[in-house]
């Protein structure tokens, strides 16, 4: 059951990703990206990351995508800005694709061999992936990176206000 659902949502995420990069209408691109992020959130549930799945839907598919769609609607883009680029791109794309598939396969093989992970995965505690579990790790072991993200957010807020206010020429 779970493997069928995995393949369904994996196919949905890949289809959404392909629509993002190929469709000419940017609104369709944004909505396809929402589809991809939503399917990935479902895959996170399969990976026992419930809290992460909720964050993915709330922050990524919610807030960030609303920002994107607001910008797309606000700018009212013309057709000629949406075209594709040069001709040699498919060759580069093919080479990149082959390299990355091979790397992913080899890394997973090495990962399995080095750490002796069976198909079952390692045994997990009862609060794996819940708010309690993630919060415990986040606020004890990784408290410094967590605090530093607040600095990042402040810098981003100030930067956005400074960029949006300025009229440069």
């Amino acid at each position: 059951m779970e493997d069928i659902l995995f393949y369904i949502f994996a196919a949905a995420s890949v289809a959404g990703a392909l629509l993002v990069v190929t469709h000419n209408n940017p609104v369709v691109s944004v909505l396809s990206l929402v589809l991809t992020l939503f399917s990935t959130a479902v895959l996170f549930v399969f990976l026992l990351a419930d809290f992460i799945a909720a964050i993915q839907i709330l922050v990524y598919a919610g807030a960030i995508m609303v920002l994107f769609i607001f910008t797309v609607m606000y700018l009212n883009l013309r057709k000629e800005a949406l075209a594709f680029d040069s001709k040699s791109v498919p060759i580069k794309f093919g080479i990149l694709f082959v390299i990355l598939i091979v790397v992913a396969y080899l890394s997973s093989l090495g990962f399995k061999r080095g750490l002796q992970i069976t198909g079952e995965g390692t045994s997990t505690s009862t609060n794996f992936g819940t708010v309690e579990g993630v919060g415990e790790v986040l606020f004890t072991k990784y408290i410094l990176p967590f605090e530093l993200t607040s600095v990042l957010i402040v810098v981003a807020i100030i930067g956005v206000v400074a960029i949006a206010k300025r009229r440069f020429n």
Partner: protein, 101 residues
């Protein structure tokens, strides 16, 4: 874990490559930013897959960090997009050469 970790890794690689494809082929700045989001999302999927396979929640913590960085990046990027569009009336990345890149 019914589906092995390598399935998630291959899916992550496919999504990442589609994102790279969008970045190198599209001319519109907003679509390029969206392809960047796609690549970040693929990296997050790999993080969470390894987190599950190892039984260690560090991957999930760093996925939260990645989401924070993505949100900041999108905010700044879209502020640039609006600013550039009001100034130059275009978002074609072949036309935008203010930085002589």
């Amino acid at each position: 874990m019914v589906v092995g970790v390598e399935h998630y890794l291959v899916l992550s690689a496919i999504l990442f490559i589609i994102g790279v494809f969008g970045v190198i082929t599209r001319k519109n700045l907003i679509i390029v930013l969206m392809s960047l989001e796609l690549m970040l999302n693929a990296a997050n999927l790999a993080f969470v897959a390894f987190s599950r396979a190892l039984g260690d929640m560090t991957g999930q913590v760093f996925m939260i960090m990645a989401i924070t960085v993505a949100a900041a990046e999108v905010a700044v990027g879209l502020a640039f997009v609006v600013s550039i569009y009001t100034h130059r009336e275009t978002l074609d990345i072949d036309v935008l050469k203010m930085l002589k890149g």
